[in-house]
């Protein structure tokens, strides 16, 4: 009983305080306190995340599921970085307190933590992101087909934006005077028209829709109607 009532009460109280804090200066400090709790919880969530990472990967290794070696590499990397960071291995001494070795910074490129970040983690994440270019090109070739009116509109928009986002836009249509009657044929003009009018109008509608959804969901949570965030049962 308490396992469900207490979290619902904390959530309801926090939600009401945060709402009041927005409208009444008298309750601003209460709202700040609640936000501090949130920050502490967000930091604790990293510990929960680490626990979850351990549980999932250890289970994968112990049951020798396909790809278990990747799970082992994940865990070794995790403990390596955790150890380097927590123990400040090879930390560069702090100029203000050179006599206290633990006062040094652990994340400069001279320390193992910083070196791995700089020369392993950073290039790997950039590579992962860069690989999208290859898959997007392949997907565009296979899936971007002018099958109906909607897809033709999408294709036309894509061409305009792809060209206008580079020097090709100015090269192809930059010669049309900006103040002429044909300025609307300039790719940069078309890009502005698409992004600032069509795209922004659509995005505003989506944003308002999302905001209404957030309000509805928040009210359901604060009033204790939606309990899906609690454990099963």
């Amino acid at each position: 009983m308490l396992q469900r009532t207490v979290p619902i009460a904390i959530l309801g109280l926090s939600g009401v305080i945060l709402m009041l804090a927005y409208f009444s200066p008298l309750t601003t400090s209460w709202g700040e306190t609640v936000l501090e709790w949130f920050n502490i919880l967000a930091a604790v969530a990293f510990v929960l995340g680490a626990g979850n990472l351990l549980a999932v990967n250890l289970e994968k290794i112990s049951s020798r599921r396909p790809g278990w070696a990747y799970a082992a590499i994940t865990l070794v990397s995790f403990f390596l970085m955790l150890g380097f960071g927590l123990l400040k291995v090879g930390a560069v001494p702090n100029p203000a307190h050179p006599e206290v070795s633990f006062a040094g910074s652990y994340d400069t490129a001279e320390s193992p933590f910083g070196w791995i970040y700089e020369y392993v983690f950073s290039p790997l994440t950039a590579t992962m992101f860069a690989m999208l270019a290859f898959y997007v090109a392949s997907a565009a070739f296979r899936a971007f087909r002018a099958k109906n009116t909607e897809s033709i509109l999408l294709l036309g928009t894509a061409f305009v934006i792809l060209l206008a986002q580079t020097a090709a836009g100015m090269f192809l249509t930059g010669w049309i005077p900006e103040d002429s009657a044909f300025a609307f044929l300039r790719l940069d003009w078309m890009k502005v028209a698409i992004t600032e009018h069509i795209q922004t109008a659509g995005m505003r509608a989506i944003t308002i829709g999302i905001a209404l959804g957030v309000v509805a969901t928040s009210l359901r949570l604060i009033l204790g109607i939606d309990k899906s965030y609690l454990s099963k049962g």
């Binding site: 290859f134 090109a137 565009a140 070739f141 090709a168 995005m203």
Partner: protein, 307 residues
Amino acid sequence: MNTNTHDRQGGGGGGSFLSRLGGLDRRWIFLAMGLSIAVPILLKLRFPEVPGPMARATFDAIESIPAGSRVLLAFDYDPASAGELQPMANAMVHHCAARGHRIVFMALWPLGKQMADATIKDVLLEFHPQYAYGTDYVQLGYKAGNEAVVKLMATDIPQQYSTDAAGAALASLPLVADVKSTTDFKLVASISAGYPGAKEWVQYANSANPEAFKLVSGSTGVQVSQLLPYYPAQMEGLLVAVKGAAEYEMLVTAAYPSADKPDLLAERLGQGRVRMGPQLVAHLLMIGLIILGNIAMVAGRSRGGAR
């Protein structure tokens, strides 16, 4: 290398070249994309850029605040987006320092602090060695909590950050000793790759005090549609993807060249323009591929119809 079944479709004999094109092995596409990126980089292709209104608005926002103002730069991204966002971060830090603004760095992303550290080392201290820690710039570092961090920054910064990233009390750092909230800054800039980032700065900091400070942002291309509704009313400037970075770089380097390190400045603040070369060729390749794919579809249909 495995290829999916679609790659092999149409590969059999009998079909016309155009209809068989639909089954083009994707490894050819990967090769073409690789070349379209590698060749412009190796040849150092650069194309002329014309600064657009958004880049100009960002430049003007930083120009319009009094020289020596206190500004807050939030590095809300990580190395995955550095290719797109680091050029604009470099240019923005140089711009602020050239104007004599005093800069407070912070991050809503765990690795944002490292991105800011690299920018401080490569740009701020390289071209503005007179900048002293504590009086001219401060690194607050990363704080967990997403939008709650922004919301608390808008009301009580010492409660959010009792120390800087190195553990020094804010009260001991002249630049931030008297800072209470984001209203003590003339400008807030978020270099943002997504959530939490520029949108949260608009919703929780700017909306609380719309007149107190100017807000500008640098954004990745994929999330810019979420930010466009806020420009230019709530967000005075918005740099969009590599193109925005290249345009802004042009404005900043033209206005604030380096007298003693011109080549190094051209290299560090030319990354956006360097990346526009591969982007141009890659975009043209994409357009070519889409056209080819559609020609293959039409050819395949007419072949099916002829049967």
